[in-house]
Symmetry: C2
C-alpha cells in the first residue's frame, strides 16, 4: 500500500501550481471573498456547512482556470471573471457534496466529509443551495452566452454522475464508457471554466474553442491521474485513502486495463472484489500486484499524458505569455502528482 509510482526519476524542479497561483493571486483573493459572502445565508446550517467546506479548502483549481484564461485573452476591462470564477467553484462544491452522499464518503480533501459530520440530508440540500447560488451569480453577470455554457455544463455533469452510478461495480465497463463519464463529470467543468475566459474577452470562436479543448483535455488528464493516485498516494499527501476506489468497487482506468488484459482467474478475482464487494485481507495488495503485472498503472499514466499533450497543443494558437506558461504548467502539475 502507499507505493509511490515513479516514472521519471531525478527530476529537480517539480512542476507545481505556483505559476498559476502567482498569476491570479489578487483576483483569487477576491474570488474567495465572493465565495465567503455568497455562501452566507440566514439559515445557520447552510453557513456552518459552507464554512466547513471552505475550511476544507481545496486548490481552487477551476476558478483559477477561469482567471488565467481571461488573462490569456488579455481581458482586463473589469472584474467580471471574479464572480464567475466563484460560480464555477460553487458548481464544483455542490457536485462534491452530492458526490459524497452518493459515494457514502467519510473523507474529503483529508478532512471529514460534510455528509459525515452534518448528515446526508443537509449535504443534499446545501448542495442544492450552492447550485442555485451559482445560477444567481451567473444571472447577475448577465451574459446569456456565459449562462448557456455553464448551465449546459451543469446538465452534462449531472448526466455524468448518473452514468457513473450506472457503471458502478461493473467490471465489463469499457475504456470508452469510463472516458465518457470522466469527460462529463469532471472535464466538462474544466472546459467551461476555461472557455468563459475567452467569452468575457469577446475573443473569436476559434480561441473559445481552443480554451475549451484545453480545459477538456486537462480535465481528462487530471481525473485519470486522480484515479491512478488511488492506487498509489498516501492519505497524508492527497487527502484520500489509498484503496478507497478499490473498496468502493469503482471501475477506473487502471482496473479496466488490468481486467481486459487479465486471465480468467484474475477476472473472477476482480468480479468478487469489485462487483460482489467481497473483499478479504490482502486483496488490495493482490489487486495492486495485478495492476503492476499488466502495466495498468503505467499505461493509465500514458493515457493521461496523451490528453495532456492534446491540451498543450490546444493552446498553440496563443502567443507566449505568463498566462500561457501558467496554464501549461497546470498540465505538468496534474501529471506529476504521481511522482
Amino acid at each position: 500500500m502507499g507505493v509511490v509510482v515513479n516514472l521519471e526519476k531525478n527530476r529537480i524542479n517539480k512542476p507545481s501550481l505556483e505559476s498559476l497561483t502567482t498569476l491570479v493571486r489578487d483576483d483569487l483573493s477576491d474570488v474567495n471573498k465572493v465565495i465567503a459572502l455568497r455562501m452566507d445565508s440566514p439559515v445557520n446550517l447552510i453557513t456552518e456547512l459552507a464554512r466547513h467546506i471552505v475550511a476544507a479548502g481545496g486548490k481552487r483549481l477551476r476558478p483559477m482556470l477561469t482567471l488565467a484564461s481571461a488573462k490569456l485573452c488579455n481581458y482586463s476591462t473589469d472584474k467580471r471573471y471574479v464572480p464567475l470564477a466563484a460560480c464555477v467553484e460553487f458548481i464544483h462544491t455542490a457536485t462534491l457534496l452530492h458526490d459524497d452522499v452518493v459515494d457514502d464518503s467519510s473523507l474529503r480533501r483529508g478532512l471529514s466529509s460534510a455528509n459525515a459530520i452534518f448528515g446526508n440530508k443537509a449535504s443534499v440540500l446545501v448542495g442544492d443551495f450552492l447550485f442555485s447560488r451559482s445560477f444567481q451569480l451567473m444571472v447577475e453577470d448577465g451574459s446569456l452566452k456565459v449562462l448557456q455554457i455553464l448551465s449546459h455544463a451543469s446538465s452534462v455533469i449531472a448526466e455524468g454522475e448518473v452514468l457513473q452510478l450506472m457503471t458502478a461495480n461493473n467490471t465489463e465497463t469499457s475504456e470508452q464508457a469510463y472516458l465518457d463519464v470522466v469527460r462529463s463529470k469532471t472535464a466538462e467543468l474544466f472546459a467551461a471554466a476555461c472557455r468563459i475566459g475567452a467569452v468575457l474577452a469577446k475573443r473569436p470562436r476559434v480561441e473559445e474553442e481552443a480554451l475549451e479543448a484545453f480545459g477538456m483535455n486537462l480535465g481528462l488528464t487530471f481525473q485519470i491521474i486522480d484515479d491512478v493516485l488511488d492506487y498509489s498516494a498516501k492519505t497524508s499527501d492527497f487527502g484520500k485513502h489509498t484503496g478507497t476506489d478499490f473498496r468502493d468497487g469503482k471501475i477506473t482506468l487502471p482496473i479496466i486495463l488490468a481486467y481486459r488484459r487479465g486471465t480468467d482467474k484474475e477476472r473472477s478475482f476482480w468480479r468478487r472484489t469489485l462487483e460482489k464487494q467481497n473483499i478479504l485481507d490482502g486483496d488490495f495488495e493482490r489487486g495492486y500486484k495485478l495492476l503492476v503485472k499488466h502495466g495498468a498503472i503505467d499505461d493509465s499514466i500514458k493515457r493521461a499524458r496523451h490528453f495532456g499533450a492534446v491540451a498543450r497543443d490546444a493552446l498553440g494558437i496563443f502567443p507566449d505569455s505568463p498566462a500561457k506558461r501558467a496554464l501549461i504548467e497546470t498540465i505538468d502539475f496534474s501529471m506529476e502528482r504521481v511522482h
Copy 2:
C-alpha cells in the same frame, strides 16, 4: 384515522381545477411535450426515472399557474410561456426528488416514490439533472428578468428545505418559523410561477407584484391545507398516508397550535411522539383527538382561509376575465380539498 374534516356541509358545486385546466388545456399539452422531450437523456436511468415521475403525474398546478397568469395579462405574442412553465415543473420535480430522499418517503402521489424504486443515489443525481435542465430552459428563453426570478426562487427553496430540516422534530417551532419554511419551500415557487406571466407580457411592476402576491398567498393556503390533510385525508384520495407527518415527527401548523394550547401532560405526549419518535399503538388517534380538542385543525383551516383571502384580493387590480376566475377558483380548490 382517515377522518374527513367537514366544515361546510351540503355544498353542491365543489370547486375544482376544471376552469383552470379548461383555460390552459392546449398550452398544457405543449408543456407536457416539452417536459417529455427535455427529460430525455442518452443516459437510460435518467429517462426511466423521469418517466416514472411523469407517470406519477401530479396536477401540474405550478405550470398551469404560469400559463393562466400569462393569459390574465393578455400575453399572446408567442408561446414563451410553454418552456418556462415546463421549467417551473422541472424545479418542482427536482425538489420533490430531493425531498423524498431527505424525508425517506416511500410514497409520492399515491405511487412508490422514485427513491424507493431507483434508490436515493439516483434520486439525488436525477434531481440535479432536472435542476440543470430547468436552468437550460430558462437560458434558452433568454430573459434575464425571468432568469433572475427563477434562480432567486430556486435559491430560496433550497434555503427553505434546509430550514425545514433544522426545525424537524422540534415541538418548540413557532407558527412564524413554520410560515417561514412554507413561504420559502412552497410558496416562493408559486409566486415565481405567477409573476413570470406578467413579466412575459411586459405588464407594469404593480401587476407583476400583484401576481407574485397572489402566488405567494395561494402557496401558503395550499401548503397549510396539505398539512391539515395529513390528519384527515384517505390515502386513496390524496396519495399520501394519513399520519405520515405524525410518524415522521413533522411539526406542522395543527401540531404547533395544539402544542401551544396544550397542558404539560399533552406537551410531553407530543415531545415523546414527535421529538423522540417513540410512537405507540393508538398514539396517532390520541394525537388526533388533541388536535380536535384544541380546535387546531379548524384553526389551521382558518389560517389557510386568511391567506386565500389575501390571494383573492391581490388579483383585485385585474378586470374580470376567464383567467381571473380560473385563478380564483384555484384558491377555492386548494381550500376545499379538506371537504
